[in-house]
């Protein structure tokens, strides 16, 4: 039994050693940072880093791309949108965005069938001036937050406009980097050499991300113009700068090809 207790002591000693090493020695050193004292090293070992506490130095005012964050409260507000009430507000939209939000003009996007969260965010950005487009800022400022949620809910339930993202797609060959058609390749596989993620993972047809607009059957010219606006930095209301990063690397031909792909998605004379 002595060998048992000896082993138990040995293991306990090793465990203690691991604690001492982990919480006083390992945390003490870090590349490109000064050597810490014991207490500071202990704190770092627990995961407390300088940027986790309150900032001690005055920070410049952050420049945020949008005032919308997808918190529980925001999503609850979007979900609470009342489509019936929204229908009344939407009468103001018809002149540009078409009957029931199906646009007949290249200047205005189709809103019917759009994602409610994405519509809500764009309206909020117009209200706060984070996205600028002449008449829309004035229109949006006349709406309350509740109005935005309601009108978003209304357009989200309209038919005959954008195709809603179902997230489900029968598998099909050619949706990988082997694809030679540049539009399909960008949409389904992106371009890893330029750090471009596939469009489809956020904008459909296969993927959805909260706040990203569905683009299936959107007006081609509208998509192309918005992509160019992101590329040139005119439009800056993408929360994580993903659209500015991606669009800045696309050629004009690629922007056009992708816009044509989405604009004509599922229509008989195009290849999706």
């Amino acid at each position: 039994m002595t060998s048992w207790s000896r082993n138990a002591w040995l293991l306990s000693g090793l465990t203690l050693l691991a604690f001492v090493l982990g919480f006083t020695v390992v945390g003490r050193f870090e590349p490109d940072s000064p050597r810490l004292g014991t207490w500071a090293a202990f704190c770092r070992s627990l995961g407390f880093t300088a940027d986790r506490g309150a900032a001690t130095e005055p920070q410049p005012t952050p420049r945020t791309p949008t005032t919308v964050a997808w918190t529980r409260e925001t999503l609850a507000e979007v979900a609470a949108g009342d489509a019936t009430r929204g229908a009344f507000i939407a009468l103001n939209c018809t002149a540009c965005h078409g009957e029931e939000g199906v646009s007949g003009s290249d200047l205005a996007p189709t809103l019917a069938g759009a994602d409610a969260a994405a519509l809500y965010k764009e309206l909020a950005d117009y209200r706060s001036g984070k996205r600028l487009w002449g008449v829309m800022n004035g229109v949006a400022k006349a709406l309350s937050e509740r109005d935005c949620a309601d009108v978003a809910a209304y357009f989200a339930t309209r038919q005959h406009g954008l195709q809603p993202i179902t997230g489900i797609l029968a598998p099909q060959a050619g949706r990988s980097l082997r694809q030679s058609d540049p539009a399909s390749r960008l949409v389904y596989a992106g371009d890893p050499s330029r750090g471009i993620a596939p469009c489809a993972v956020c904008h459909g047809p296969s993927g959805y991300k909260v706040g990203a607009p569905a683009l299936l059957r959107q007006r081609t010219a509208y998509i192309e113009r918005q992509t160019a606006a992101f590329a040139q930095g005119e439009r800056q209301n993408d929360i994580d700068e993903q659209m500015r990063t991606v669009a800045a690397q696309l050629t004009a031909q690629e922007m056009h090809a992708v816009a044509v792909f989405y604009g004509g998605y599922g229509l008989p004379d195009t290849v999706p």
Binding site: L11, L14, T15, A18, F19, L21, G22, F23, V26, G27, F42, R44, S45, L46, G47, F48, T49, W70, T71, R72, L75, A76, V78, A79, G81, A83, D115, A116, A117, A152, A153, A156, T157, P164, I165, T166, G167, I168, L169, P171, Q172, A173, G174, R175, S176, L177, R178, Y188, A189, D191, P192, S193, P198, S206, G207, Y208, K209, V210
Partner: protein, 547 residues
Amino acid sequence: MLRTDRLALCHFWVAFGLFLPAVVLGAWQMLMRSPLPAPLDDSNLYYASVTLHGTVMAYVLTTFFAMGFGYAVAVTSLGRPLRGIAAAWIGFAICVIGTLMAAATVIAGRATVLYTFYPPLLASAWFYCGVTLLVGGSMIWVVLMIVNMAAWKRANPGAPVPLALFAVTASACLWAWTASGVTAELLGVILPAAFGMTTQIDAGLARTLFSVTLHAIVYFWLMPAYIAFYTLLPQAAGGRLYSDKVARLVFIMFLVFSLPVGMHHLFADPEHGVGFKFLQAFFTFFVVLPTLMTVFSICASLEIAGRIRGGRGLFGWIGALPWREPMVLAGGLSLLMLGLGGFGGLINMSYAMNSMIHNTSWVTAHFHLIFGGTVVIMYFAIAYEMWPRLTGKPLCSKNLARWQLWLWFWGMLITTIPWHVAGLMGQPRRVASFDYGIPVVARTAPWVDASVLGGAILLISAILLIVVLVRSHFGARTADSPLRYALAVHPPLRVPAALNGFALWNVLVLVLVVAAYGYPIGQFFFVLKPHSTPAYEVTRSALPSDP
């Protein structure tokens, strides 16, 4: 006893019946990642396929196999009928329903979240419910193993529990502890979001809870292989087990050391400080102890067998072993792969070296070699050993079985060694398709092509496995061939209470888990409070405002 045979056989058939399609998916995934032309090259399909492949291999194959094996061992090692056979069938049914729910959801394209879930990715609730049922159903097995061992101990006071049952119960206890992490993650973090009760997920908390499961589950997978090493392999080789006591100690050490180590999967995680990462990396090295003890014991047991069979000299006993026996052959090949994979594992768990291979294909290659190789080849050997016992019919062809094992061995090496190399070249894991037009990616092309070939060999081997099992199952019935477990050189007459039960060790596990995970999990509630991100639904059925 016959009823238990059918019970165990049903478990094995579910395990292997789903194993074959999962290998087909794996072989296709290899092709998809390669520069070679692949049918249905759709990136979404790739992730759905990875999800199904991973879920079947990691949860379904292993859990059903461990349960079936446990029931068979309980009956054969104790020599008396299983207690609670009705409960066992209920557990089986729950697990099958869970499996079908999860698999159907993935096939329907609503759960491409891989088997580790990766919150804030969010799949359909059906998938998570299916996995929860599978894990929950297997808890019936855990309880039954403990009940059967306790009942035997009551009937035989003071006698040492047969090693095979002792080890299976260790495995059951380990599974209960292991599953606690993923169960807490599913019930506490993921399901509320999947059911729409909340829109936010605390991804850091979910990752940390999963890490409780993520490494210990590997040892749960490994357990049947190790049990076969200690109780079946020496017998098949015609020898004796080197030491019963060492075997008990090894299973206890696996139970104790497996849990407080999972954070070595979170070395790059920003939510945790270096202290607990280092601590758990340090603890991970403890697991090397039972592994080395096993390699020593099994080599010693095989040497005893080799010398009994007339082997002479320093290495002559190796040639004298009955390599034509599938169990012996699989044991040898398994130990070879354990050696290769084990050293790779040492790199993964080392705090500093890990950063070289983190998130590269090295990691995928490693766990395929150690799990798909070392562990699963022993599952095959156990099946070959158990089939005559369970069906009452002899194995249709030992020759075919040997072919199958050799093909699996070479297939696994040809798949995983180039895969390791591609990882060292910087190839990232979890990527559906690579652009081989980029020079830095093009360098990996020949290695990936080699892996594709390995994948094809593995597929042939998996088909052979099913052929052997089906043909044996429907063969002519012969006299019963009872399963014999290896006797130790010095069969134990009495063992210390600590080596005959798990109460003490479960308390120790609790202490270690609290020490290792108390703060890392607790900080999400007390230190980092507002910490959630919106769940990212990977598949979407309806707009939130639909009436």
